[in-house]
Symmetry: C2
Subunit: 199 residues, 2 copies
Amino acid sequence: MLDDLPSLIRLLRGLQQIPYLASKNIYRVASHFLNMDKKQLDQFCAMLCDVRANITNCSTCFALHEKDRTCSYCSSLKRDNTIICVVETWQELLTIEKTGGYSGVYHVLGGVICPLDGVGPEDLTINQLVKRIDNNVKELILATNQTPEGEATASYIASKLKATSVQISCLARGIPVGSSLEYMDRLTVYKALSERRPF
Amino acid sequence: MLDDLPSLIRLLRGLQQIPYLASKNIYRVASHFLNMDKKQLDQFCAMLCDVRANITNCSTCFALHEKDRTCSYCSSLKRDNTIICVVETWQELLTIEKTGGYSGVYHVLGGVICPLDGVGPEDLTINQLVKRIDNNVKELILATNQTPEGEATASYIASKLKATSVQISCLARGIPVGSSLEYMDRLTVYKALSERRPF
């Protein structure tokens, strides 16, 4: 059916590589690109190449920054560099920044330890994190996701830093703000109960 | 927060233009492109430009075909060119082809009449369809979607062809195969009942 359209098949295969694009929508997305004129398409491609050329990871915290600027987190004088918040990816960093409630610095791991996907500790920035911990650092907040892999990665980091004097903390677990107990899963309610706090 | 990352902001804005990409996933898709190496990114861009350069619309039926080939529907000797199936876009053409139950030719409208979106009959290929109808064409199947706009477009086309002798039909309406009556909407059951067929 599409055998006569090899260029289109290549586009569909390329689009399949993009995460979070449902297969059933791929034909419509392909249509979107087919309907773009040459100028728009060139602009889109230029933008993709541009971002690849201009954005890099900070060599200290591994957050993203423009190549011609310094990392806005590490170089900020307003931030408390005695507290480091460890996150999986920069998306989680943005999530924490959006709260407006954190003024320390960050460390982006670049993922989680996941043997099934072939990701070991050496594929992440854990060694660089360990090297960052000196007497100046007072607290390390392990803000990995509440998934088995996230928790295992947090445990691994904690074990690596056992010998140091840094205080290690993690995010509070419990009932999300605005939600009803009735609809929460058992494990979350159990954790919220066992980790209850004074009112 | 992202103010220090103008290239990234441009990428995020570009990705927002892609249909069916949920806003909440845009950061992850941006990450996907950032993690590509230069070669992969160049290949992706080449593929996008390639499809734009190589694919065109058939001047008769407006289906897509490679520029260096003829339209596989119009030029096929196995297809019955006395029956034309009118569809909104090439995605619907593919849906009908996938059934394997149609061997006539097609006419792709390129959308539906939708005054709210500023799309009138002259923005579609309706005039070209009317010109295609000659004494050779016996049947026209209006296979627009079962939406208010789709039905209005079908009615408009039917009214345009009232003077000709071509037989106009449309897709059967009713209960989808494999579904329970209990979960069907009222209007579908009503249509299935009023348009019932001999067993």
